[in-house]
Symmetry: C2
Subunit: 275 residues, 2 copies
């Protein structure tokens, strides 16, 4: 997706380029957020900020001053077109060789602005990926920079008719799509896998769990997914995406899904299908 | 460890700085090698090159032309002091947003030269880390850039009297130290965990397996380690490091270990304890 602009900071100091000794490069020692920018504002900014703060606390990366960060982001996205994507990367900063985090850490912040993806107007076509998600409670839930599993999974297909791939974990339970969370409708309730052993605690996922009556976390097998009454993916850039097909299973549009999409559109106009 | 020099290439083109959109930063989408430089030459260069090539093939990152790479590295390390450390990072290059690898990939190469670490003159003192290694066959063995597990494990202690930490995997079997492989002497044979489910196929580890009669791969429990007759760590920068203590277990110097160190010193003079 085409890059519109980018900025790099060491601590609060703007720098011209990323240092080749950054621990984000060396070890994936950092976090990221990907957000929709709509009419010059970051959609769900408080949720993105909260997740970033929680991730920084878990990895013990110093969190930038929140007022300073909010101000930098607001200025940066003010230049955005009506619809765009903000990517924010926070790393532990520049370090020497060796895994031990430096005593005095000055985190690196990279802000970049990208063209918004073209909207998907038809239900998604999915596949199962062969690449599995490892079970790692120490990192589960975080939107960290160690993303080789997703890179390998997404490189399994090039057919543009396939929109996304679902990943099982190494225990055979559903994890997520390569770049989205998954909800399955079973017995009238929307269910999504918990994220304490693998997966990412998605911002759109959290919105659904908080706002859809009966939505809950539950482990799901591949069979649970294939026999669900309806299925959707969600992420913070695209909102809620109905699934039309997974392998040889197909789903007709489901009224519960249309209802949920309308509810999201009322809550966040950026996700209104008519917007 | 202090940085002496660094160089960045996109493809074969030298560039002034790392692009903030590099996939090495975004996803840890790349590989690295850390090698000892001794008298202007990279120790075990063929083994480092072979591992890099194998990793690039598994991740489907285009491997740089080997003659070109060898020539760049040779020129780069010619400026090194008598003893130094070369770090080489190879990434999938600059990409847009999104996990899908770009169709036309121009890999990024970062070379950096660091001061050699001070030699350890006493047997190592180890601890057990709480952070576990995830089971991930798709990435096991590779020296890839997704190293948050090692960062978390190494950040568990700051006591300089503790030299290294051992990591179990999520199944409770020994994996490795945070920055070294592990061998345990049991029934007269040196045993090290296989690396097809987690861990890194270390260059020093491969040397021991190839050159020490009876050395073999075997799964080891924490008890197997604690009840071993001798224990050592190894990596390509420090060679073979005898372990003197792990928790409340201590080991006296073992003749088999002294023999192995002498054999390594004869094969690679850079690791001769007298050098």
């Amino acid at each position: 997706m085409s890059l519109l602009a980018s900025l790099v900071f060491q601590g609060k100091q703007r720098v011209m380029a990323l240092d080749a000794g950054d621990r984000g490069l060396a070890y994936g020692d950092g976090l990221f957020e990907t957000a929709l920018v709509h009419d010059g504002l970051v959609v769900w900014w408080p949720a993105h900020l909260a997740r970033l703060s929680e991730g920084a606390a878990r990895l013990r990366i110093p969190m930038p001053d929140v007022a300073w960060l909010a101000s930098q982001v607001a200025t940066f996205v003010a230049q955005a077109p009506a619809r765009a994507v903000l990517k924010l990367i926070l790393t532990r900063g520049v370090g020497g060789r060796g895994y031990a985090p430096p005593e005095a850490v000055e985190p690196t912040l990279v802000l970049s602005l990208h063209a918004a993806p073209a909207p998907w107007t038809t239900p998604l076509v999915l596949r199962w990926c062969d690449t599995r998600l490892a079970i790692q409670p120490a990192l589960a839930g975080l939107k960290h920079l160690n993303r080789l599993e997703q890179v390998l999974a997404r490189s399994e297909w090039r057919d543009p008719a396939i929109h996304e791939g679902l990943m099982l974990d190494t225990d055979g339970q559903l994890g997520c799509a390569t770049a989205a969370n998954v909800f399955a409708l079973r017995d009238g309730r929307w269910l999504t896998p918990p994220v304490h052993r693998r997966g990412v605690a998605g911002v759109a996922r959290a919105w659904v769990l908080a706002n859809e009556p009966g939505a809950a976390q539950a482990e799901l097998s591949a069979t649970d997914v294939a026999t669900a009454d309806a299925l959707f993916l969600c992420n913070a850039v695209r909102g809620i995406l109905p699934v039309g097909r997974l392998g040889d299973r197909s789903w007709a549009p489901h009224p519960a899904l249309a209802l949920l999409q309308r509810r999201l559109g009322r809550s966040e106009p950026a996700f209104d299908p008519g917007s």
